[in-house]
């Protein structure tokens, strides 16, 4: 379970998260929608401690992410995250990209890590690209590799930050298919997305963010069909 309570976060004078609270239960898929600069990416980075928070608390499986004594690197192995920008490790092959962290962080043997890597790369449809370098992959393939890389740590949670927004339209589908598969398998996920149809299809709940505040959260039917807040309706009118 991910429990976010009254989180405040600013960059200098700029308030980026303003009293955000959100609980994501095991197996749940929660989508976050909202305009540019509303704090969506920042929230994901706060969840696995890549960004500090000023007040409030974030707990993952009961462990305080931002507490002093927390072994953040250990906690991060439970939380996979895939970013908007492709960030393959350019000096490693696709398989090495995926097995690096299992070997170095989880201390798995090469054989063991390779087996996991192969399995995850097949899972995302890259079973035939193991020994290729990332530069030879398309954007969609790079993003699927990033998903496999995160999954190879066998995380309990997956966070996706607009993973399709830098892709050519014809490559979006293959990445969404991979995420759809994960949702079906029962992975707990938070996804920041601009793909409203996709959010509607896979989410248990959808949250709407504006200027660092969570204005509304509810079932996809409520948010897309019958939004309770004028801000939500306005935003949806502008993107749909």
């Amino acid at each position: 379970m991910i429990e976010i309570e009254n989180v405040h976060k600013s960059f200098g004078d700029l308030k980026v998260l303003d009293n955000v609270s959100l609980t994501v239960k095991k197996g749940e898929v929660v989508s976050i929608i909202g305009g540019s600069g509303s704090g969506k990416s920042t929230l994901l980075m706060c969840i696995n401690g890549l960004e500090p928070i000023q007040s409030g608390s974030i707990r993952v499986d009961g462990i305080e992410v931002h507490a002093k004594g927390t072994d953040i690197n250990k906690l991060r192995t439970k939380i996979g995250i895939v970013f908007q920008q492709w960030n393959a490790f350019p000096h490693l092959t696709v398989l090495e990209n995926v097995t690096l962290a299992p070997r170095k962080v989880l201390k798995k043997s090469k054989a063991e890590a390779d087996a996991i890597g192969r399995k995850q790369l097949e899972h995302v449809g890259l079973g035939d690209k193991l020994d290729v370098y990332p530069s030879k992959l398309s954007g969609g393939q790079q993003q699927r590799m990033a998903i496999a890389r995160a999954l190879a740590m066998e995380p309990q949670y997956m966070l996706f930050d607009e993973v399709t927004s830098a892709l050519d339209p014809q490559l979006v589908g293959e990445v969404l298919d991979t995420m759809r598969l994960l949702a079906k398998e029962g992975m707990t996920m938070i996804l920041v997305t601009h793909e409203m149809a996709f959010a509607r299809e896979v989410s248990d709940r959808v949250a709407f963010f504006k200027s660092g505040k969570m204005h509304e959260i509810g079932t996809p039917e409520q948010i897309f069909g019958n939004p309770q807040r004028p801000e939500t309706a306005q935003f949806l009118a502008s993107v749909l």
Binding site: K74, S135, R149
Partner: protein, 217 residues
């Protein structure tokens, strides 16, 4: 027909000089690279005000002509009675001089590794140290290598200045022979050829590594 008084002994003398040049270059690059990495990593990972004194000292090494540094350090160590040989003084001064340039290369190489790539590494649970050794170091190395090879070749040519401390390296040994047999063009051509023969494999090696890495990009 072409005739020369350059004897086999003279050629051996030149090769000996070349050996000295190589040896000083080796120690200067070894010391300069190790120090350069330490200084460069320190400057890349610490706020500027904490590294300002170091940056200032390194700037001195880079801006004062090497010849002046060599002569001054050698004079001061003699006055202080340290009794360090001219060879060791040369290696130390050249290593510090090299480290100043190398630290800039290292700093630039580290800065060129995208923040997003490093964030991805940390998000997988890698420690700061694992990020530095597994991600930053290999990527920065590829970025830095061409300039580092250039630095090596430059330092090798700069070693000619140590002759001012009485060390007989390649250039000095060729001058000695020129003075004796009075065939400056021929002797300097031979010396130049030896410099080239030393440099060529170094630049080839660099080019080969670069090509191998580029195949992946």
């Amino acid at each position: 027909m072409f005739q020369t008084s350059l004897s086999l002994n003279d050629v051996m003398f030149l090769l000996q000089g070349a050996g000295v040049t190589l040896l000083i270059t080796f120690w200067a690059m070894l010391g300069g690279t190790i120090l350069g990495i330490i200084f460069g990593v320190f400057r890349a990972t610490t706020p500027w005000w904490a590294t300002a004194p170091l940056a200032f000292v390194l700037d001195i090494f880079r801006s004062v002509p090497l010849l002046i540094q060599l002569v001054l350090v050698n004079a001061f160590q003699a006055i202080a009675g340290l009794n360090i040989s001219a060879f060791v003084v040369s290696c130390i001064v050249l290593a510090l001089y090299t480290s100043a340039y190398c630290s800039e290369l290292v700093r630039g190489g580290i800065a060129a590794v995208p923040v997003t790539t490093r964030r991805a590494a940390r998000s997988l649970g890698m420690t700061w140290w694992q990020d530095m050794t597994q991600i930053v170091y290999p990527i920065a190395l590829r970025i830095m290598l061409p300039s580092w090879i250039g630095l090596t070749l430059g330092v090798m040519k700069d070693t000619a200045l140590v002759s001012w401390l009485g060390i007989i390296e390649l250039l000095r040994s060729s001058q000695i022979i020129v003075t004796r047999i009075q065939e400056p063009l021929f002797v300097l051509t031979v010396a130049g050829l030896i410099y080239f023969i030393i440099s060529f494999p170094i630049s080839r090696l660099g080019a080969r590594l670069e090509r191998k890495w580029r195949e992946n990009d």
